[in-house]
Subunit: 373 residues, 2 copies
């Protein structure tokens, strides 16, 4: 019996079925939606120990524990569980798959109840605010008036930030990890390459690939390859692969000569076989659009004004996707607005992906932040 | 009359036709080759004032001056010309298009004289050493025994370095700009994404697109887009585009919302209409393979041992493709080998592309290096 595997008990996703119309930031509406989510730990009687986990671009509701027969756990299993950073002995953890996702929540690959056809490219472009609003509906459904904390890394950190802005009375603590208050031109540029790779794949069919019985795998594979480079640091790639060759000698052809080439191809292959291309497009647009200060003419200090939550901001030294400098901009905004903020820049070699791994100082920081009065 | 336009006189490329077989580093042979080149300035009687310009990935022999009717000059016109960094009043500048290129030298889009068919994917994979060897044949042809200097940026800088290693008695000065002694895993990873974009384009036809009357434009476009991001700095993109929108409002669709998206699309479109995909593949492999120290079990100091040239190494503060740290590695190798080396890290916002622009300190450094005794 594998103690680690059983520590969270049997993991069974739940489905939240919301049957009323919701308004989106774009001005469009969705008639109804389903949101798949997992929970770990027990909600206490006062319903005051709930923590919301917000996933990033390619994440899902399965953030911790093992499904029956699976050898790989949820994507944040290193941080969520009994006696871990997010301690399920103390907290009730709620982990949804966001609207627009492809892991069970309503998204581009779902059937549009209004037309009886797959949404495909007609699924509306969402925003982080839309996500936070639908997560609030899930909280209502679960009877959670106030989150003890909302936590996320990367795009997940943006949701944690948006929660504290949109619902200041429903969140005690916000943990914004490896994120930024908005994307830079370079961030947008990388997302645009990913989108162009997908939309110019002849198998994309204008987004109607499912009804055409095809899949823009080549494009999605390239999108993931380029994304993956930005998740790793130059240093971690050097340590992991250096210039190590696959074979003993250079091939003098266009096969993969270096280990890093095969690794990237493998990453691209495996991702493109399991992720929905329209969801990928959507997620990158949600990233690009995130810029809460744009509603106050770019005034971040004013934007953070309503916040009541105590906020922990964490960055990683080798993260070049959302560098420490980007977190510091955010910290300066909090300071300017006179808000409670804690900031930690963690020494790590793993680049942006650092937020996924339970480095000691990182674990302790989250743990003590969540437990602090 | 435009004085600047006429300062180099009428620019007419020359063709060097080499009719003997050459051996390549891969072990393959080429029966004969043509190399197109331009020259600016006058070769002196002692033939001691010749400077070789080595181009980078997408460069060509047209590095300075204006063709009849053209509004855009050669790619390094800011640095080459009368009284410029590389002063054509003093020096005889030789600027070839490398073997494997697509601007007039023998390359993948040329006809293989042995088969009468277009080389396409059968064009052999070359190395920087092969380039330097064929440039040496051009020097022989021009009666130039010793270059006053060999100069290049990026992949061009690698050629300048290789020249000083391969032909220590034929080069007085070497100027290695925005380069490195070998690519990092991250550098290779970006190249691999570019190659995968091209080779997985259905119009690539295994490299035989010309004989199939097609062109993998989509793939080449993506390759250029991702490459282009690595040429610019985060800072220069921020200054150039920030998060400026194309229209007044977000589109909530998958069109280009931000200026940077249209810019990248435009760069990709224009490049993919004029460059050969097989040449692009070849150039990226030549970059990946460059690692002169690999012939001495990674011992850079030993590798630099034969060098007699005085060397100037230049890097730029915001270059993240070949960062200053990579130039410093090279400088340390020169120091370890007891060689004459000068190093300049130039403050610039323009990232890797900095090497293309005539910033004052950069111009003065090259100028004084070339004129020094």
């Amino acid at each position: 019996m594998n103690k680690e595997k059983d520590s969270l008990g049997k993991i069974i996703p739940n489905l939240f079925n919301y049957k009323e119309e919701i308004n989106l930031e774009s001005g469009k509406k969705i008639k109804s939606f389903e949101m798949i989510y997992e929970t770990y730990g027990q909600l206490n009687d006062s319903k005051s120990n709930a923590i919301l986990i917000c996933h990033a671009l390619s994440g899902s509701h399965h953030s911790a524990g093992y499904y029956d027969g699976d050898s790989k756990p949820g994507w944040w299993n290193g941080l969520i569980g009994p006696s871990k950073a997010i301690d399920t002995n103390k907290y009730f953890v709620v982990s949804p798959n966001n609207l627009g996702g492809c892991h069970g929540s309503t998204g581009p690959s779902s059937v549009n109840p209004e037309t009886g056809k797959i949404y495909g490219p007609d699924f509306p472009v969402l925003t982080v605010e839309d996500w936070v609003n639908t997560q609030a509906l899930l909280a209502d459904h679960l009877g959670i008036d106030i989150w003890h904390a909302v936590i996320g890394g990367s795009l997940g950190g943006m949701q944690a930030l948006q929660w504290s802005i949109s619902y200041p009375d429903r969140i005690m603590k916000s943990c914004v990890i490896a994120a930024a208050s908005k994307l830079s031109a370079q961030n947008i540029a990388f997302n645009e390459v990913a989108r162009q790779a997908i939309t110019t794949d002849p198998d994309f069919h204008g987004g109607n690939y499912l009804s055409s019985n095809s899949s823009p795998k080549s494009g999605l594979r390239l999108a993931r390859m380029v994304g993956h480079i930005t998740y790793l640091s130059d240093e971690s790639m050097k340590e992991k692969f250096g210039r190590d060759l696959k074979e003993e000698k250079l091939g003098f052809g266009f096969g993969a000569d270096f280990q890093v080439e095969s690794y990237l191809r493998h990453q691209g292959d495996s991702f493109s076989g399991s992720f929905d291309a329209n969801t990928y497009l959507l997620m990158t647009k949600i990233l690009d659009y995130f810029d809460p200060a744009s509603k106050n003419n770019g005034d971040l200090v004013k934007t953070l004004g309503p916040i009541k939550a105590n906020t922990l901001i964490i960055s990683f030294t080798t993260d070049w996707r959302f560098s420490s400098a980007r977190s510091e901009e955010l910290v300066n905004g909090f300071i300017g607005a006179g808000k409670r903020v804690n900031y930690l820049n963690i020494e790590s070699k793993l680049g942006h992906d650092s937020f996924l791994f339970p480095e000691k100082r990182y674990v302790e920081a989250i743990n003590s932040f969540l437990n602090s009065k």
